[in-house]
C-alpha cells in the first residue's frame, strides 16, 4: 500500500520526536515502537476503502498539523482545583489525565494492598514483567494503523493492575480531560490487568474543557484471567470538534466475566473499536453501547467478538438515538472458531431515527466455523411509535415530554446494564438531560465530579 501524504507527515513527526518520546519510557514499551513503526509503514491510517472503516473516513483528520500532546498544553495541575466537587473523589479512586497524561497526585490512595492504578509511564517501568507479558498482545500493531500509530507515540495513560484474588469494591474512575489553547493529537495508552479471581470496576469519562480541536487515538488493553471480573464503562461527553478513535482490546480466560458499556452522549466523530477474545472455556461477556447524537455528529461502533474456545457466551446490545443529520454505523463481527462448540452469541443493534436526514448503517458479520452454536443477531432502524405517542398525549402529556419519555424508553435497556446503582442513576439523569437538549449547552461537563460524590455516598 502507498502511504498518503498525511501518513508520511506522521512518520516524520515520529522520527523527529522519537528520542524525546522514548526518553522516560519503559524498555518494553520502546521495543514495541519498532514493530509499530514498521506496521504503520505498511498500513498507514486506514481510509474508507479499508472494509472495516467503510463508514468512517478518518484519513483526512490524522496528520501532523495537529500538535502532539507531550505535555499538559498550558494546563497546570493547579487548574484541576476548578473541579470543585472532585476533592471528594480524591478520597475515592479517582484519577485524572489531562491530554492523555496522568496527573500527579490524583491516584486513588484507598486501593486494596497490591492493587495499583496510576500512570502508565511510571508503572510500566515498575512492572516490566507485566509489560512483557501483556503489552501489545491483544492490540496487535499489524492489524490496524491506529494501533500502530498509538504504539509508536504511546507515552502515558492509565495502568491498572489487580493481583490475584483482590476485589476492588469502589469503581476506579478515570477522568480524561482534553484542554488547552492549541489543537492537539492525543495518543493515550491504557493497560488493565485483572488476575485470577480478582475483580474491578473501571469508569473512563472522556471530556473536553476547551474549544480547541482534539484528535484522540486511544488504545486500551484489558486482560481478565481465570474467574476474574472486569466491569468497564466509558462515558463520552466531548465537544463537536473532537475526533476520537477509541480502541478497546480485551482478552478473557476461563470463567471470566467482562462487562463493557459505552455511552456516547456528545462527540464530533467517534469510532470505537471494541475487540474481545473469549480465550478460556465458560468465559462470558456483555458488551453494550448507547449513542445519542445530533447535528453532524457521527458514531461508528465496530465490534469483533472472537469465540476461540468452546462453551463461551457473548452478548451485544447497541442502541442509538439519532437526530438532525447525524450519522452512525455499527458492525458486529462474530467469529466462532472451528472447535468452539456450544457457543452462545447474541447481538442486536437498534436505532431510533428522529429525522429523515439521520442515517444509520448496521451490519452483522458472522463467521461461524463450529456446528453446535446458538447465534442470533438483529438490526432495526425505526421511528418513534406513533400509537404510543398518541396514547401519552391523550393523557395530557405534551408532545415534547412524550418524545423524551419514548426516547428514554428506547434507551433504558442499555442503561439497565449498568451494575453500579449510583452510576446507573447518574447516567440515567445524563441521558435524560441529553434528550432534553440540556447537555450540549456546556462544552465541558462537571458530570464526573457529581458522579464521584454520589459514588462515595452509595458506598
Amino acid at each position: 500500500m502507498n502511504l498518503s501524504e498525511h501518513d508520511i507527515s506522521l512518520q516524520k513527526l515520529f522520527d523527529t520526536n522519537r528520542a524525546f518520546i522514548e526518553k522516560d519510557a519503559a524498555a518494553g514499551v520502546n521495543l514495541a515502537r519498532v514493530k509499530a513503526a514498521e506496521a504503520f509503514a505498511v498500513q498507514g491510517i486506514p481510509s474508507s476503502k479499508v472494509e472495516a472503516y467503510k463508514y468512517t473516513n478518518l484519513q483526512p483528520w490524522f496528520k501532523s498539523g495537529f500538535e502532539q500532546a507531550y505535555g499538559l498544553n498550558g494546563y497546570s495541575a493547579d487548574d484541576l482545583k476548578t473541579f470543585e466537587c472532585n476533592v471528594h473523589e480524591m478520597e475515592s479512586h479517582t484519577i485524572f489525565t489531562v491530554n492523555g497524561k496522568f496527573v500527579e497526585g490524583s491516584s486513588g490512595h484507598a486501593l486494596p494492598e497490591g492493587v495499583v492504578a496510576g500512570s502508565f509511564l511510571e508503572l510500566s517501568q515498575k512492572y516490566p514483567e507485566i509489560i512483557e507479558k501483556y503489552y501489545g498482545r491483544q492490540a496487535k500493531v499489524e492489524t490496524d494503523g491506529f494501533i500502530a500509530l498509538n504504539t509508536m507515540f504511546a507515552m502515558d495513560g492509565l495502568f491498572i493492575y489487580v493481583p490475584k484474588n483482590k476485589v476492588v469494591e469502589k469503581p476506579i474512575q478515570i477522568v480524561n480531560v482534553l484542554t488547552g489553547p492549541s489543537d492537539l493529537m492525543v495518543n493515550q495508552r491504557n493497560l488493565i490487568v485483572v488476575e485470577e479471581n480478582a475483580q474491578v470496576r473501571v469508569l473512563f469519562c472522556d471530556h473536553t474543557l476547551s474549544m480547541s480541536r482534539f484528535l484522540v487515538n486511544t488504545v486500551t488493553e484489558g486482560f481478565v484471567a481465570e474467574s476474574g471480573m472486569l466491569d468497564f464503562y466509558n462515558l463520552q461527553n466531548q465537544h463537536n470538534g473532537t475526533v476520537q478513535v477509541g480502541g478497546y482490546y480485551f482478552d478473557q480466560e476461563a470463567k471470566s466475566q467482562l462487562n463493557a458499556n459505552y455511552f456516547t452522549l456528545h462527540t464530533g466523530i467517534t469510532r470505537n473499536n471494541i475487540f474481545s477474545r473469549l480465550g478460556g472455556e465458560h468465559a462470558e461477556n456483555h458488551i453494550s453501547g448507547l449513542y445519542v447524537i445530533d447535528k453532524n455528529q457521527h458514531v461508528d461502533n465496530f465490534s469483533f467478538i472472537e469465540h476461540a474456545v468452546p462453551d463461551c457466551e457473548s452478548n451485544e446490545l447497541f442502541k442509538g438515538v439519532m437526530d438532525d443529520a447525524s450519522t452512525g454505523a455499527f458492525t458486529g463481527r462474530i467469529l466462532v472458531a472451528p472447535d468452539a462448540q456450544r457457543t452462545n452469541a447474541y447481538q442486536s443493534n437498534n436505532n431510533l431515527l428522529l429525522t429523515d436526514s439521520a442515517k444509520m448503517n448496521s451490519r452483522p458479520q458472522l463467521e461461524i466455523y463450529a456446528d453446535d452454536v446458538k447465534c442470533s443477531h438483529g438490526a432495526t432502524v425505526g421511528q418513534l411509535d406513533e400509537n404510543a405517542m398518541f396514547y401519552l398525549r391523550a393523557r395530557g402529556i405534551s408532545k415534547e415530554e412524550a418524545n423524551i419519555l419514548l426516547m428514554y424508553a428506547f434507551a433504558y435497556e442499555v442503561i439497565e446494564k449498568i451494575k453500579v446503582p449510583s452510576l446507573k442513576e447518574q447516567i440515567r439523569q445524563l441521558v435524560e438531560k441529553r434528550f432534553r437538549g440540556e447537555l450540549d449547552k456546556c462544552d465541558s461537563c462537571v458530570v464526573c465530579g457529581q458522579l464521584g460524590t454520589n459514588l462515595i455516598k452509595a458506598n
Binding site: D385, E386, N387, A388, F390, Y391, L392, R393, A394, R395, G396, I397, S398, K399, E401, L405, L406, Y408, A409, F410, A411, Y412, E413
Partner: protein
Amino acid sequence: MLKIRNLHAMIDGKEILRGINLDIKAGEIHAIMGPNGSGKSTLASVLTGNEAFEVVEGTVEFNGKDLLDLSPEDRAREGLFLSFQYPVEIPGVSMTNFMRTALNEQKKYRGEDVLSASDFLKLMRDRKNLVDIDSDLTNRSVNEGFSGGEKKKNEIFQMAMLDPKLAILDETDSGLDIDALRIVANGVNKLRRPDNATILITHYQRLLDYIIPDHVHVLYNGRIVKSAGKELAHKLEENGYDWIKKELVG
C-alpha cells in the same frame, strides 16, 4: 358539556363519520352501541384528537371551548379522557412515571400545584384500591405484558387518577371476567359526580346492568340512527341490529 354538530371525518380518503350530532350534559351517562365497523372508535379517536383522522366538516364544543382546535394533550387537560379499546404497550415507560408526568402536566395547565412525591403515592394507592388493580401492575412498564383484562382495568385506574370531566370508555367491558366487570363498573359508578359525564361504547347489555345509562344511541354507518332510553339496549340485545337497518331502508 359536549355538543357535537354534523361531524364528518375521514381516513385514507374514506368517510367514516358522516354527520354525527350528539349532546351530553353534566351528570349524564350515554351508551353508544352499533355494529362492528360502524365508527364508534373513530368517533372516540376524533374527539380525543388522533391526527390519523381528518375532520372534514362539523363542530365540537366541550365546556364552551372549540374542542377540534385543541391539541390532544390540551383536550386531556381540559378534562377529556379516553379508555382505549386497544391500550398501547409502552416498554420502558413505568406506570408510575407515566401517571406522575400526566397528572402534573394536567395540574400545571390548570394552574394547580403539582403533587408532592408522597401525596402522589398516596393517590396511587387510593385509586388502585378503587379499581382493585394489582400493585405489581403499576410497578411495571405501561401495559407491557398485561393481559387483555388487566389492560382494561389499567385504563380505569388511569381514569381514576386523572379524574376527568368527560370519560369515553371504548369497549372497556370486553375481555373482562365477571368479577373484573363488576369492579370496573363499581369504579366508574364511584367516580360519578353531578359535574362529570361518561360515554360508554359497548356491544353488551351486561355492562349496562351495572352502569345504568340515561341515553342509548345506535351508531350505524357513521351516523347516529337511533336514540332512546335504557330500554333500547335490551331491545338490541334481544333482536340485534337488523330491525334498525330495515327501518332505515324502509
